[in-house]
């Protein structure tokens, strides 16, 4: 069971003029297995840096990140990433995109196709398996991105504002699709967003960051009932939580 621990980590970037900018400042945090954790904060607060550190694309200057008591040494198949711009392989069909992680694991063609077909079905992409990404709408592209990341059944799913470029309706539908798959496979999900309602709807725990350099401002447990349905968005509890979080974040934007 995956558990991720941030132990007092800091990360500084050097910009083009040689000036250091601290993106993350002394963050300590424990992320629970099998839960959805949303990281919320004003833009430029180091949210994406957190995802890049977790993915192993970059490393902290100070402190350590552990996954199951092991240092994160680089990208790994147990931690897949869903990108804001999807990063779909434009030269591969929908089906080939979904199969890619399985192919890397040397799973044979028949088995791969079977799993890919299953995910195509699950994400409402039936009939589009042989299309190329440029033939799809934004919402469908992000479904392919999700299906591709989930087809390998990762223990940890890292999501970097995956729905932020979608329209309201598509975003809500994809949030619900994500929860549906989550209840089935129960991966740990770390979901970065700047959308408060998205965070409340999805998260068990919301971590709010301060403006740059990113520090933890507060950690909020969301005790809305599970499984969550779209009606929850209209509940009094949801509304109160939104007010509370908005107030907290507002202090950072001013």
């Amino acid at each position: 069971m995956s558990k991720i621990t941030f132990d007092n980590i800091s990360k500084t970037f050097i910009n083009r003029n040689g000036q250091p900018t601290r993106a993350i400042d002394k963050v300590s945090l424990e992320i629970e297995p099998e839960k959805i954790t949303c990281v919320l904060g004003p833009s430029g607060c180091g949210k994406t840096t957190l995802i890049n550190l977790l993915a192993g694309y970059t490393f902290p200057d100070e402190g350590h990140i552990f996954n199951d008591n092991q240092y994160i040494k680089g990208p790994g198949i147990e931690r897949t990433v869903v990108f804001q711009d999807q990063a779909l392989f434009l030269w591969k069909t929908v089906k080939e995109n979904i199969e890619f992680g399985l192919k890397c694991q040397k799973i044979n063609k028949t088995q791969r196709e079977k799993i890919a077909d299953e995910y195509i079905e699950k994400f409402g992409l039936s009939g589009f398996g042989n299309n190329y990404p440029h033939q799809l709408s934004g919402g469908m592209k992000q479904r392919v991105g999700l299906a591709r990341a989930l087809a390998t059944r990762p223990k940890v799913l890292l999501m970097d504002e995956p729905f932020s470029s979608l329209d309201e309706q598509n975003r809500e539908i994809l949030q619900e699709d994500l929860l549906r798959i989550y209840y089935e496979a129960k991966p740990m999900i770390i979901f970065v967003t700047h959308n408060i309602e998205e965070a409340i709807f999805l998260a068990h725990t919301i971590v709010i960051l301060t403006k740059r350099p990113g520090k933890i401002k507060s950690i909020i447990k969301v005790s809305l009932p599970s499984p969550r349905t779209s009606e929850i968005r209209n509940s009094a509890e949801f509304f109160q939580l939104r007010q509370h979080i908005w107030k907290t974040i507002r202090e950072e934007i001013k």
């Binding site: 993915a55 694309y57 990208p75 198949i77 897949t80 392989f89 890619f100 890397c104 440029h134 890292l158």
Partner: protein
């Protein structure tokens, strides 16, 4: 329908102007023969048959030189784009040779390979190699980092990064290099045959210049143009077939 007519207005005006400028001074046909004379010369060339051999010889020169240059150019470009060490080692030499126009190699080509097919292959190779290599290099270095990151997080190793990410992502740029390379090959083959060969379309127009058969010289030029056009079209069709994933080509 309207568009197709528009396309022909300028060419037709051009031919009419050409015809008008040659009317009335028939004795000057060695300087500029009329389009009618050139058209008749083309028909005659095909009737005599030698021109078909010349076309095939030129195509052979182009294809062999181009087919040697393509894999080498693509491979060198990819290695330079992928490995920083290879770039440090090879880039200075390549950057030194690249600005030398391939035509400047003609004296050496004749010295080394004599007169015949070989200098043509060599010059076509030189002409095609650099655009193919450069475009492959830029294709590889401009692969977006996010594709590699996505692949790594899906468990890709070095082999998958190269075969599934870098090569296909760079392929439109590689194809651009091949198209440019083939165009330059065609320039180079005619140049090579003008000076260092005893067959081919370049040799044919050079020979007819010496014989003062200007109508045949221009006929040869027209045929060179038509062949180049069809070679370029073939590449475009090939590109659409091989890279169907690109948005609106």
């Amino acid at each position: 329908m309207k568009l197709t007519i528009t396309k022909f207005i300028i060419p037709i005006l051009f031919i009419l102007l050409w015809q008008a400028s040659t009317a009335g001074h028939g004795q000057n046909f060695q300087i500029l023969p009329s389009p009618v004379k050139v058209f008749l010369a083309i028909i005659n060339l095909f009737r005599e048959g030698q021109i078909i051999t010349d076309i095939l010889v030129s195509l052979k020169h182009v294809l062999i030189g181009f087919l040697i240059a393509s894999p080498i150019g693509i491979a060198v470009g990819i290695v330079l784009g992928y490995s920083k060490t290879a770039k440090k080692l090879l880039a200075p030499l390549i950057e030194f040779i690249r600005p030398i126009p391939p035509i400047a190699w003609i004296p050496l080509a004749i010295l080394w390979f004599g007169i015949g097919d070989n200098p043509a292959y060599f010059l076509v190779f030189l002409g095609a190699f650099f655009p193919i290599m450069t475009n492959a290099y830029f294709g590889v270095v401009s692969v977006e980092e996010n594709y590699k990151r996505a692949a790594l997080s899906l468990g890709a190793g070095k082999k998958e990064i190269m075969a599934d990410i870098i090569l296909p992502a760079a392929s439109p740029s590689i194809f651009t290099g091949l198209k440019t390379g083939l165009g330059i090959s065609w320039f180079m083959v005619i140049t090579a045959e003008l000076v260092g060969s005893q067959s081919g379309l370049g040799y044919m127009i050079q020979l007819n210049r010496l014989l003062l058969h200007t109508d045949k010289v221009i006929a040869g030029m027209v045929i060179i143009g038509i062949c180049g056009y069809f070679m370029n079209k073939t590449m475009e069709i090939l590109e659409d077939k091989l890279l169907p994933w690109r948005p609106t080509s």
